[in-house]
Structures are given as C-alpha cells and as structure tokens.
Amino acid sequence: MAPGSMTTRRKTARSSGGGGPSIGLDIGTANIVAYRNGQSEKGTQMEANAFFTVPSMPNTRKILEDKAVRFFEKDERLHILGNAAEEFANILGGTTRRPMEDGLVNLKEDDGIQVIQAILDPMVPEPAQKGQPLWFSVPGDPLDRNGAVLFNESIFKTYLKGRGYTPRPINEAMAVVVSELSDQHATGIGISMGGGMCNICFSYLSIPAVTYSIQKGGDFIDQTVGRSVGEPATKIKAIKEQELDLSVAPRNNIEHGLHAAYDDLFASLAESLARVLRGSDNVPRLNQALPIVLSGGTVLPPGSRERFAACLGEVDLPVRVAKVVQARNPLYATAKGAYMMAVAEDES
C-alpha cells in the first residue's frame, strides 16, 4: 500500500487485526518515537537517539543496572542509551554522541547502527503475528543528493524484517500531512523540522507529489550558535528547548544567536520551497489555498510558526498558502502519521 491510497477518513483506532496493535515509527536524528494507541497517545514512547560512552568498571555497571538504565558493553566501554544518555551527559558535563547525523545513519560512528537497534529493540517488540506491517518514517532525498536515503532506508528495512515485521517506509513529511491534514483530503504541505534535517512534502489528495529535504535542522542551530558564542552545543540545545521564545525580543547573546539561526533556517527553508515547487512538473495548478503544517522538535519554541510564516511572505510560491499551523503534537506528528497508515492498511 502506497501513501497515495490513504483514505481521508480519520483513523486512530487501535488495530484489532493483523496480529497486534499497530505501531508507527519515527526514526529521527534527535529522537525515536514509537506511536501507539491512537489519540490518547498512551503507550507512545520517545527516546533520545543518542548514546554516551563511559569506561566499563564494575561499579559503574552496577549503578546503571540498579537504576535500570539501558546500556550495552563493547570493547570495555559502556554505551548508555537513549534518554538516560542525555541525563548522564548533563550530569558528567559531557556531550552525547549521535548514531544519526543530518537525518541519516552516521557512518562515522562505528557502533551507530548497533546503538540504534539497541534503542529500538524495546520500542518495537516482536509482533504477535509474523509479517505484521510496520510503517516507519524515511527522510526525503536531500537537495542535490539523490539516492542518499536509500542506504538509510534499507538498514531499517532489514532490521524490522529481522524483528518479524513487514516494513513499510513513508516519507517523514508525508506522515505529517497524513497525521494533521487527513480531514482536508491530505492536501497541503507538511514540514518536519527535526534535529538533523528538515523534510518537506507537497501532498495533493494524499499523493506525495514533491518530497525533498534540506540538511539543516535543530543541530545546525545549536552548533552555529554554540560556535559563535563559545558555548557547548548541548548548552545551547537546553536553552533552546527550555527557554527560547521567538515571539519576544532576545535577552542575551545566546538568544540573539538563536533568533538569527532560526531566521536563517526558516529563510533557507522558504527559499528552497519556492525553488523546488517552481521547478517541479508535479505541482498542479490549484485554485484553493493550501495549509502548511510545521512539526518536529525544532518548531517547539513559541513564535516559530509566526517567524516561518513571515519568511514565507518573502518568497514567491507557485501555490497560495491559506495558513501556517503547528502540528497538534509536533514531536509525535510523524510517528502518528505512520501509525495512521498502519491502521488504514490494517483496516483495508
């Protein structure tokens, strides 16, 4: 089943067939989300897609085991996984490592694939019935790098197959459209701004007519600002996530930097959107104005929506924009879209 066959009916019910509850998976640079159980979002899990390495010592191992922290041991080092990794990195004043970079599996990390699989294992239990479909998000091809995501997709397909599922990829931004615009015939533009990249999908009647990505995201903001103010990126990330409000004037150097970096990201995004849509044969002539949905952790700071809308006003899009909205839960929107695809397939 392709995304194009998604019905416009809102489907968030728990699946009863297909051998077990449906799961939608969003594998992002910063976080991995496994979406379950429909609108209540109960049972949905989110884990940081990160790890933190400490030397293997009996005492350390015991502490981790006592605290039920997830880790694995390799080459006399303990790899602490997921949210716990960020907690430990913060406490010990270090920086977590990422098994993914710029939206794709980070091939510079020797243990990257093993780390992602270790994080995924408890989030994706083996299905009650072999071959149950599982929809997972894949990024769009980065601009000027066609085919870059194929390796990425095949890694996760192989892994999910090994777990007993029938893997079904869905473009990350298309999943956002499915999740947020299903009552509008899944017609509009979905944008998922994650840690490593921004994914964009122009969807018409649930057909992903144009998909692409730019390799800039939350990490780009953290690193750019960190470099310019001489602070570690992790500190910038914490400030961005906990304090930043783009709707009010910046109060210090770090906030000045964050405002500037956000403006740069939004401007790049708007400019690329205009360029790609104008250059595509797949964008139909439409009389209606379209909604744009923003999702992903990078749009969480208040004022993001308004700032992006302002940047859109500066470019000449080939379609009219009705409104720019934020996803109901920006962190879960992609996984929810994948989940809705799974439920739709299960019911069809």
Partner: protein, 777 residues
C-alpha cells in the same frame, strides 16, 4: 458495455505522480478511472470498450512522448484527451489529429482536466436536438463547464459544508425582507458578528490550562552540609512551595478577607465585586479599585502578561472560569499563596514568612499573617522596612476586613493591631561561603541557569564541625601572626577525607565579605619544599630506599638555555656531604634533593606528581623539584592524599543531588583507584613521619599522635605551607599575601602555617568520623 463505458477513463502518464494526481482528481468527482503504466494497456481499455476516454499526460519536449501521442491520435482521435507540459505545442498536437479542445497545456491542471472530461461525457450523452442553434449549444456547454468547475472545487473542499449552507439560507431569507429592515438587521448582525469575532479571537488564543497539572514554579536550590545543615540557597525567585494544610487558617482568612471576601461563593468571577469596583471607579473618576478575584489574579500571574488591556481582562476571566471548573477552591488558593510576590525577592508565602519574620509559614501569628496579606497589592509601598506607617495601616485594614467578615472577634482584632511590625530583613543562610562558591561553580557548569530555578536539594560533603574547626584555627593563626606584628596576610585551609576524597572543610580566605577569591581552590602559588615528597616518591619507585645514600653537595645547573646557572643552597647555608634519602627529606635539604632529581630524572618526577594528582603545569626545569611551579592548595592536598593511601584522591564536593521530584540524580559512588605500590607508600609515609618527629614539622608533635606532613616555604617567605595527614584526613594550610610580598621575617611554613594545621587537627573529633580504609602501610 455502454453502461460500463459511461464515465470510465483510462489514464496513461509518462510520469507516475502526474498520472496519480489526474486519477485521484477525477475519482474524487465521481469519474471511474484506471491508471496504467503501460500505454498499450490503456489503449486496449478503449479498444475493448472498458473505458470511453483515454487521458494521456506527456512532456511534449520529448520526441518519443510526442510520437506516442501521434500514434494514439491516428486511431483514437475521438476519445483522446492530452495533458502536456508546454501550451505552445497545441498547434502541433492539432496537426496530429488531436481535438484542440482536448489539449490542456501548461502546469498540470486537475480542474481543467475534469472540466474537459465532463465536457467529453456531455457530448457522449448524445447530440443536442437538431432544432437548437449553435449559439445555444455553446451557452449550454459553457454553463456545464461552470457547473463542472464548481463541482470540482466543492469536491476538493473539506467535507463539512454545513456552515456554508446555513449562510446561504440566511442571505436568501434576508433578501426577502424590505430594504430598511434589511439594513438594520444587517448592521446589528455585523456589530454582533464583530463582537463575537473579537470574543472568539480572545478565547481562541487562550493558553492551555492543563499546563497547571505540570506547573512547576521556579524553586530555590538548597545546599546542605554532610550533616544536613543548610549552607545556602541559590535562587532567582526565593520560593519554597508549601501545601495548604501547612498554612494556618487565620492566614488564609486574612488573604480571603482582603483580596476576595466572596471567594467561596463565586465561580471564578464575582459580578457583585465587579459592579462594586465599577461604582467605586465611577465615583472616584478613574481606575481605583480592581474587581479581580483570587482566581483571576492567579490566572494573570501564571498565564498572562501584566498588561492593562481589555483583551487581557477577557482572557483572565475566561481562564478563571476554566480553572474553577477544573480545580478545587483549596487547590486554587494554595497555588495563589505559593505564587504571589511579597517583595524582598520572596515569592510565595513560605519565602515571605522566612524573609519578613524568620520563621516558617505554619508558625505565623494573626498579625503576621495580616501583614503578609497586605503586601501582594503593592509590596514596596507597603513594605514594613521602607514605609512602616503605611504598612501598619494596610495591615490593620486587613485585620478590620477579617473582623467584618466574621473571622475575628473584637478582642483578637485589638490584640493583633497592637503587635509590632518586623524591623529586620531575614536573609537566607550563606554559611561556608568559599565552599558554597566552589560547589556553585561546579553545579553551574553541569546545570547552567537551571540551577537557580530547579529546586534541587544538594547534599555536599562538607562536615560542619570540621568547617567550624577550620575557621577557628585560621582565626587563631591570624591572631598569632598579628601578635608578631604581621598584618594583612591571608590564609587558606582545605581538608579531604582520605577514603573518599570528600572535601570536609574549606576556608578560602580570612574574610569572604572583603574578597571572594578562593585561595584554597583558585590561587596558584609555589609550594616550595612541600613539593619535595613527589621527588622522593619518584626515587622510591626507581629502587631507592629510605636509607639509600645521596650527596648533599653543591651543584650547578645551567638554566635559561645555558645563559645562566643555578646553584641551589640549603636553608642553613651549609652542605652535609653524604646523607640518607630519609635524612634529606626530613631536613628538607635542597642540594640533596636536586642531586637526587638529577639521578631520577625530571620527566619521571613530573610524571609522578601528575599521577598522584597535581593538575597544574609543572615546568620541566630543575627549580620545579624545589617547588617553583605553581599549584593550588586543593590539588596539593589531594596529591598528599595519594601519598597517604596509594590511591588517587579526587576532591569531591557533592555527595548526592535530589531533584524536586525526589529522584536522586547525582550519586557518584566511585572508589579511588590504587596508583602506587605499597612499598613506595610505606617509604614516603616513613619519611613524612620523620619530618614531624625529627624535622621541620616538629611542632605537630603537640598532637601526641602519629601524623605525617611536610612544610613548604618559598623564596623570601612569600608562601608558608604545611600539608599533612593522619589516618582519616589530609589537610593543607597556606599562609601568604595576595600581593606575593614576604609574610615577614622568619615566617616559614613551620612557623606560620603549621600552628594552624595543628590547631585544626587538635579540634578534629577523634570519635564519630569514619575511619579511612587505608592500604597496607
């Protein structure tokens, strides 16, 4: 077959996505479609009668796709619709035989495609009657095209169109009314619509009150000593949330009486109070009285900005109503009392009670509660410290309101109005300030700005008894120096537990209020002879024994790239010839130490010093072996800890950290690693014991127990040190001037620093402390 053919379309598109777009659009409008990725399959559908119309989408810049259309036009010209990318090629397609009206060029246009398909089927429904003129037929087709466009747009809109139907009916109804009435009604509707729109806008931008379920106000971080003595609070807003049941009833009544007497009667908004406030404003000719209930004030404090606008007021009322539906009166009152600002950086009742009265909120008297209830309206104007008379009048007004509302008897009122106002602001504790600063710096690096707002409970390693002993010892040492005419000097002391590295006491200077520079942890000073044990440790590790013989003879060393020479001299000015290793360290012989260093090698000595805990750079020059490279007292003490135990001692200032959810988020639990062989540790302990029994540290014999250590004095008596240990603690003491000028004549480590060390060790309780689990020596 005719029925199947009717409104059936076969589609072929060279680019699948464009084909899907056409197919979906037509299907949405009720057309039966099949999409093929093979043109032959699509043609067969027409030939077999399964479809009546073939829609072909091509890029007419590609020759092979144009040829494809040419082939189809040859056989299927009557039932062919071509969508193509370049509208300029319409003539070319017409020449091939494609009907001009069935060529749609330019960007993919689903609406136009549907109109063309609909027109095709209109023609396919049958020819018009023969008597109809061509003009009428054109008009009929145009009308059908318009209907098709509308049908397409309707299909593409969101499914719910009830509002539109209702509006259409309304307009039709209005059209039937007479014009004047229509205008009046329209005006009223427009006005009501505008008002409704404004209200809708206000209410649609309300914040999510569910945030209150996870509401977590800024909360101070508290630092405690190892024995649970509060050392300091770090905060942006001084606040300690307290549950309502720990707030006395008379205090709650004081707030209700002055802020919202009908609190338990209304549902978030008090119309009677609003009307009263409005009347008071009219009489006063301006804004004098607010009609806000406690719930409204809470809404404003937590959810809204403090602006005076109608929009804010409407939102405040709406949120108040929502809060009252969601939360109990007690919960709202509790949130209000913990959120309100009372001046003096005190947020919440508990912090206010501590700031104004130096006591917790559950011990507030009636008069005290009334004063605090008087403050939130204007904390500075009614401050008892700034405007005592206004504060008294406002407090008495609160008491009067309590009496009017039946919360007080006349006697209680009279008694309370006679109570004094507070006159002293109670600052929060800031004990052991140098140590607190040291911890704060470490915590800030880990938690950043969150430190002052996260409400952490930080248990430090500081032992309050030992800290008091350290401060007393420094005071006594300073007094002794002053008695000898030495004034203006500074001193520092640091004590570490040998088994854990816990910092048990830290004094960074003689007067924190005058200078906050921590001389125990921050000051880089030359250690002088206190560095020598690392030279001897390196020698022991290279096979020397304590009774090995070395030469205490003059030695000349080229320094400064050979441009100068350096000849170390002993303190006495004499050379002793052959001496044992132990004797050389005991008597702190410089020449013997340098001669030994020449044998051992500078690299090994520096490596040994770093290995045991010296973090500062040690310059690779021979004066370093006599303590010329600067170090901090803290790292020197930690390195002596390694000499005592054979294990690497890392100074630790935190024992554990608990967040406001009572979860332990810091619990190091690591044990020092063994880094020295026991034979070397035994040798160095033997020599450092001899320093005390027979050498420069003899003053420590006054303790009448076995202790170990080494004095240190730098050139011109600029620094005086003693670093030593017993079986539980390693303690470093430094005396000197910030300007690095001499302390005074004969003020050596043994004379200026050692007495402080001895005094501190004398005060260390022998019982009640954990005994270090030492190595074999």
């Amino acid at each position: 077959m005719r029925a199947d053919r009717k409104k059936s379309v076969a589609i072929y598109a060279a680019r699948p996505v464009r084909g899907q777009i056409i197919a979906k659009s037509l299907a949405l409008c009720g057309i039966r479609v099949t999409l093929d990725d093979d043109p032959e399959a699509a043609i067969r559908k027409i030939e077999s009668g399964a479809a009546a119309l073939l829609v072909v989408d091509v890029n007419n810049h590609l020759q092979e796709e144009i040829e494809l259309v040419r082939g189809m036009a040859t056989h299927l010209a009557d039932c062919l619709l071509v969508t193509h990318t370049d509208p300029r090629d319409r003539d070319v397609l017409e020449e091939m035989g494609v009907d001009r009206t069935r060529c749609i060029g330019g960007p993919l246009d689903p609406e136009q495609t549907f109109v063309a398909v609909d027109a095709f089927f209109a023609a396919d429904d049958g020819p018009p009657p023969a008597d109809q003129s061509t003009g009428k037929e054109k008009g009929r087709l145009k009308a059908r095209g318009r209907r098709a466009r509308k049908a397409f747009q309707r299909a593409l809109k969101a499914p719910d169109r009830r509002v539109w139907r209702w509006w259409t009916k309304l307009i039709r109804g209005l059209q039937m009314l007479r014009p004047v009435r229509t205008m009046a009604v329209s005006g009223a509707i427009l006005a009501a619509g505008a008002l409704a729109g404004y209200l809708f806008w206000c209410l649609s931008t309300l914040p999510d009150i569910d945030r209150l379920n996870h509401y977590s106000p800024f909360k101070a971080t508290k630092l405690y000593s190892y024995g649970n003595q509060l050392l300091a609070e770090l905060y942006e807003q001084r606040r300690t949330p307290v549950p309502l049941d720990r707030i006395p009833v008379h205090v709650r009544q004081a707030f209700i009486a002055i802020e919202d007497a009908r609190y338990f009667q209304h549902s978030g908004i008090d119309p009677i109070r609003i009307a009263g406030a409005l009347w008071a404003d009219i009489k006063a000719g301006g804004f004098r009285q607010g009609g806000s209930t406690i719930t409204q004030q809470l809404s404003k404090m937590i959810f809204l900005k403090p602006e005076k606008t109608m929009t804010r007021k409407i939102k405040e009322m709406a949120i108040a109503l929502m809060l009252e539906r969601r939360y109990s009166k007690d919960r709202i009152l509790e949130l209000y009392l913990n959120q309100a600002y009372f001046g003096c950086q005190a947020y919440g009742l508990q912090a206010a009670a501590e700031a104004y009265f130096g006591k917790p909120s559950d011990r507030l008297t009636l008069a005290e509660g009334a004063l605090l209830a008087a403050l939130p309206k204007a904390p500075n104007a009614y401050s008892p410290f700034q405007n005592p008379e206004r504060a008294r009048r406002r407090r008495d007004h609160v008491l009067q309101r309590m009496q009017v509302n039946g919360f007080l008897s006349s006697d209680e009122y009279r008694q309370a109005t006679g109570a004094d106002l507070p006159s002293v602001f109670h600052e929060r504790a800031y004990r052991s300030p140098y140590f607190v600063d040291y911890c704060q710096k470490y915590l800030e690096e880990t938690y950043g700005d969150r430190l002052n707002t996260s409400g952490l409970t930080v248990y430090t390693t500081l032992d309050a008894r030992l800290q008091a002993a350290a401060e007393a010892a420094i005071l006594k040492g300073m007094a002794a120096l002053e008695a000898r005419g030495v004034v203006g000097v500074q001193a520092a002391l640091v004590a570490l537990a040998l088994d854990t590295g816990h910092i048990k006491a830290m004094v960074g200077g003689t007067d924190y209020d005058r200078t906050q520079f921590n001389r125990a942890a921050q000051a880089l000073r030359q250690p002088g002879s206190a560095f020598k044990p690392f030279v001897y440790l390196a020698a022991l590790q290279k096979g020397y024994q304590t009774d090995s013989h070395i030469q205490d003879m003059p030695v000349t060393i080229a320094v400064n790239n050979g441009r100068q020479t350096w000849r170390p001299r002993n303190y006495t000015g004499r050379f002793n010839g052959e001496v044992t290793v132990k004797e050389a360290l005991t008597r702190s012989l410089n020449a013997a130490t340098v001669n030994l260093a020449l044998q051992v090698g500078l690299t090994d000595i520096i490596g040994t010093a770093h290995k045991v805990g010296i973090r500062s750079k040690i310059h690779a020059v021979y004066p370093s072996v006599l303590g010329a490279s600067e170090v901090t007292l803290l790292e020197l003490a930690a390195a002596y800890g390694a000499l005592a135990t054979g294990r690497r001692i890392e100074p630790v200032c935190l024992d554990r950290i608990i967040d406001k959810a009572s979860a332990t988020i810091w619990d190091p639990g690591t044990e020092p690693a063994t880094i020295l062989p026991s034979s070397a540790v035994a040798g160095i302990r033997e020599m450092l014991a001899a320093v005390v029994s027979d050498g420069t540290g003899r003053r420590a014999l006054a303790l009448e127990r076995t202790v170990y250590g080494k004095t240190g004095t730098t050139n011109g008596n600029a620094d005086a040190l003693f670093v030593g240990f017993d079986d539980r603690l390693v303690v470093g003491v430094w005396v000197g001037r910030d300007s690095r000028e001499p302390i005074g004549p004969k003020e050596t480590g043994a004379r200026a620093a050692l007495p402080i060390w001895v005094e501190f060790m004398r005060q260390v309780p022998v019982e009640g402390m954990r005994v270090a689990a030492l190595g074999s020596p």
